[in-house]
Subunit: 480 residues, 2 copies
């Protein structure tokens, strides 16, 4: 219940200290709480409800694209993790090792899954014999563990919740199509449901997932001008299949190696929402994932008829949106601050004078616009307003990204623009050489985020580093 | 896809070898697959979909009774687990220990949660100050690990999926009411949705959860006459609160210790469904949790108009039930066996002659009854049939339990009845002494499953062991 000390004034302002502003929101909006296990957090009801809405929407999108949920064990025997060389090199340094079961030392150490490619491969080898067994399009909603040194709620934690899709196909073409399709699913979800514009791209060789042929990602720009990787989709070719001995008989009875993908998004998306839409009054939630889409606050609730009317209005809205009535004994002013802090998209105020006029005051969180709405029209107006909020959030985030995307021609230009305009995406051509990628990072501080999938360099574009002919348009940035 | 070798005849008959019959179903109905991690399994799409339906229904029941979902870390520091003496004694011998993160040895070992009371207590201590903060009614859907020696799919595995409810209340009365309410929720779910009758009872002192004041359980009787604990609900009193320093200021500003509960059900319920309803043709699923509630099998599907009609019928049923059309190139006979094996409650056959007559053949899995249904009536008849299936399954399971519940007066009677009638529930009065409980177990082989909550001994009832005045009616049995 309400803690009267918790006031909006307690949030650090974004401009003063962005990192502190972020953790203030995480704590004061009651999304997370720390625990005695370093780097692991409690996701509290309000934070978890946001994740449940993300899950529900994404799970529907996965099922609509033909995927089935499964559940693999959380443990991976050391020998199984070690099978794929690149993969183990990428993950072994950051896994948690189980060495004892009860009082007995295990014969073989087990790692707590950092990701489950090896388990899926072992399973595929057991269940795939013929072309009739393909494709398998699996997903699981689980938590994984990576032993990070520095941690921050949602953005980087030792245990985090995610979904990992794993699919296996008869042909490379089909697997590549799947990789791209799931990147599109993620981008659609982020843009439509989270109101967060993303850049779709491919990672450079040095930034690929351990064991992948190609890694695709969606990148979003946060309020502070830093980039955040919001989802990844990997194409594995038949490398894992060869290592794990997964083969199938095709229609001509020839033995072939199938092609694989994996793709994932995590609770990091909650961090992305905070840092894309939040402001100095707290969280601002896109309606699709808001646990409460509209809060109704009675004014002068002790006066006869107010609470009755408020409950009547709430009942009329019950099939329309996720609505909460706050009839606690806190003051309306306190409640306004509380639900602003919690990022509830729409606030509805109803007092005796409103009731007399058959109206209410409707305030949208993201722009604090106030309008009077007739109570009869509310069930029609509220969904329109929620749509307006989503569109308004998206437009604002897109404008911010555009303002902070700098087209640069050389390293000096990058340094100058970042200095003058602040952190942001640097959009600049690249020759494709790793040496130039490293040089840009070292000289300017921005690393390659992704190679654009939609933009190609013109004939006259040259690498931002070496001045040779450019092969790609790359988004560079400082990253979370 | 279909494996032509997989035929019904391959299932071991229940009477021949019940344990093998069980694992045959788990494997051949594609519920689980083994992995290289001993005692951990892959839950395959068909098995996981059953769990998803269980989750969806239970989660709705939890939310309707005022609970919120959260997510705690999967790790518990050794010192935190050690805080509550009874609790750690109960769980420490069977936990998995993480000792290393990456290449570094941890300063303190972490156990993979076997259950999360200690984490919830630590969290409560952080967030509860006043009576306004109470109650907290939390639940989480996670997996837990217990390092069991012998394992069987769903029934006993080293990692299993479950939900754990954890609540904390200002008064003992409120916490006890919660403990009982959640036992009722579990019983309602098992009886209504899983069509599985349960006995509601209280565990004896020796069989309580580690750290609990009282443990309540629902017990079900399996086909082979063994008892299965299907869910538990614990009342903790204020013991954990005292150990973990959880206090709140009441309305008079006096500091008090709150009272706690926890309650859980697991993927073991899938095992319960298999062993309550399954038969020698395979799985039999109660409609509420069946991934496919009705399968439509076209007969002579190459003939013009058959597939068109089948798809039209499926479309008409789309809002009515979870319906699948199998138009694969396997024979109708193979398909009949396949979906019997998979326990699909209703099979609908549609061939050219049926189409001429505007009808279909509808077969209910549990009793193999065949009826002709007019295609126009199907959207009305199908839900009725699904209800009939649930009721039929429940009646059959209840009759089986009644047939195998033996009222006994002394140990010789128990031995004689079990010998004559086979394993089952023994219903017999008990004096309340642990020595008698142990003696019964040792002499007759059946242990106390639970003390009935609804039945009281009469004045003349005497303990089945010592002959002294009886205090309780106890259900005894051999247990999974």
């Amino acid at each position: 219940m309400a803690d009267m000390n918790k006031m909006v004034s307690e949030i650090t302002s974004m401009d003063e200290d962005f990192a502190k502003w972020y953790t203030d929101i995480c704590r004061k909006a009651e999304l997370v709480e720390y625990t005695s296990v370093k780097g692991c957090m409690v996701i509290r009801p309000y934070g978890y409800a946001i994740w449940e809405h993300m899950q529900r929407i994404l799970d529907g999108m996965f099922k609509a694209t033909g995927h089935e949920n499964v559940c693999m064990p959380m443990f991976i025997p050391e020998s199984l993790l070690n099978k794929e060389k690149d993969h183990v090199e990428g993950f072994a340094p950051e896994v948690a090792w189980v060495t004892h079961g009860g009082s007995e030392k295990l014969e073989e150490r087990l790692c707590v899954r950092p990701t489950s490619e090896t388990l899926f491969c072992e399973h595929y080898a057991n269940i795939i014999q013929s072309w009739r067994d393909l494709p398998k399009k699996y997903n699981q909603w689980v938590s994984v563990v990576r032993w990070e040194k520095t941690t921050r709620p949602f953005l980087r934690s030792r245990e985090f919740l995610w979904q990992e899709g794993h699919t296996i196909h008869a042909t490379a073409a089909e697997a590549i199509e799947e990789t791209e399709r799931m990147l599109d699913v993620y981008a659609d979800f982020c843009e439509n449901d989270l109101a967060m514009p993303v850049v779709k791209g491919r990672k450079t060789e040095s930034d690929k997932f351990a064991g992948a042929v190609a890694t695709y990602a969606i990148e979003a720009l946060m309020h502070d001008g830093k980039a955040l990787q919001a989802g990844t989709s990997h194409y594995f070719g038949d490398g894992f299949a060869k290592t794990f001995g997964i083969q199938f008989s095709d229609k001509d009875n020839k033995r072939s190696f199938p092609h694989q993908t994996s793709w994932g998004v995590t609770t990091r998306l909650i961090g992305a929402v905070i840092m894309t839409h939040g402001d100095d009054n707290g969280l601002v939630l896109p309606p699709a994932v808001a646990p409460i889409q509209a809060v109704i606050i009675p004014v002068a609730q002790h006066k006869p008829g107010v609470l009755e009317k408020v409950n009547e209005v709430a009942a009329a809205l019950s099939g329309v949106a996720r609505v909460k009535v706050d009839d606690s004994d806190n003051s309306p002013g306190w409640k306004y601050s509380e639900y602003e802090m919690k990022g509830v998209p729409v606030r509805i105020e109803i007092g005796p004078r409103d009731i007399e006029k058959g109206q209410c005051v409707l305030v949208t969180r993201h722009n604090r616009e106030k309008v009077f709405v007739s109570l009869d029209d509310l069930p029609t107006v509220l969904p329109e307003k929620l749509k307006e909020v989503r569109d308004g959030l998206y437009a604002k985030a897109l404008a911010n990204r555009e303002k902070h995307t700098y087209c640069c021609i050389d390293k000096a230009d990058i340094i100058a623009k970042l200095e003058e305009l602040g952190d942001g995406f640097v959009k600049a051509p690249w020759c494709g050489e790793e040496a130039c990628e490293d040089d840009v990072k070292e000289t300017t501080g921005v690393g390659s985020r992704c190679i654009s999938l939609t933009e190609e360099p013109s004939d006259s574009d040259v690498c931002v580093c070496c001045g040779k002919k450019a092969k790609h348009i790359v988004y560079w940035g400082k990253a979370y």
